[in-house]
């Protein structure tokens, strides 16, 4: 495992992502990851707030439009999240790193089963 993480981190793509001074490398990936966060969590919270009983005037047709938006945010963040991991694979050795995919699974699996 450590060997795999080391060689991934030493690869030329990983090095470019991490060390390139270009704003199209790490900064662009980080920006897209933040945008995806806003789109995914934001659209999701609007639906959740409605489900929790706030803004009852909002009809269910909003949901039909919000779900594709949420999934586009999700896949944008899945892709950029993989890139952020490739840029710094040693993150995987920290305890807190494993919490994140576990919590993502908890939030995505029920959604996938019900929608």
């Amino acid at each position: 495992m450590m060997e795999f993480l080391n060689s991934l981190g030493a690869s030329s793509f990983s090095t470019w992502l991490r060390e390139s001074p270009s704003i199209w490398a790490y900064p662009a990936v980080l920006t897209l990851h933040t945008l995806g966060l806003g789109v995914l969590v934001g659209a999701n919270w609007m639906v959740d707030l409605r489900v929790l009983g706030f803004a009852r005037a909002l009809p269910m047709s909003l949901f039909e439009r919000a779900f594709p938006i949420m999934w586009s945010g999700f896949w944008l963040n899945a892709a950029t999240g993989v890139l952020l991991f490739v840029a710094d694979p040693m993150k995987a050795t920290t305890t807190i790193f494993m919490w994140k995919p576990a919590i993502i699974a908890v939030s995505v699996i029920p959604r996938s089963l019900t929608s």
Binding site: L30, T34, G42, A43, A57, L58, E64, R65
Partner: protein, 146 residues
């Protein structure tokens, strides 16, 4: 802000909780204003403005705390100046929308197309909030924060 071990990470987390509230609510309103999601009733969707306002309040307060805590990181930072510029554009856009069009939105029928002025307001909102986010993210890259 800088001596406490929890103050900065706590404000950072709150800043990133306000962000999706703002982007999510404003983004869905902007799409409707631009006429792209006409199946969503206009009178209902503009009610999400209060969630966007909560998002703005959280991010502005925590953002102000970052500035008070470490002003040197920001005051000469070109990304910070650009961020504040587009924040001003977004706020002026909201103010103009509220005073000239806000109430009219409630009078439109649910699936009505929006007037051109509302389409412009939606597009300006979406573009300026994205640029606020972009230049916020660029603080350490274009500028030299952190």
């Amino acid at each position: 802000m800088t001596t406490s071990p929890v103050a900065w990470p706590l404000c950072e987390t709150l800043h990133f909780i306000g962000l999706p509230l703002l982007i999510g609510a404003a983004g869905l309103i902007d799409l409707r204003l631009m006429g792209l999601t006409r199946s969503v009733p206009i009178g209902a969707v503009v009610q999400m403005r209060k969630w966007a306002a909560v998002g703005v309040a959280i991010t502005v307060v925590t953002g102000a705390l970052f500035f008070i805590g470490a002003p040197d990181q920001y005051i000469h930072n070109p990304a910070w100046k650009a961020k504040l510029l587009f924040l001003a554009v977004a706020m002026v856009n909201v103010a103009i929308f509220e005073t000239t069009q806000g109430k009219r939105m409630l009078e439109l029928s649910a699936d009505a197309d929006t007037p051109r002025s509302s389409k412009v307001a939606g597009a300006v909102s979406m573009a300026s909030w994205f640029l606020v986010l972009y230049f916020g993210r660029m603080l350490p890259f274009i500028g030299d924060a952190f």
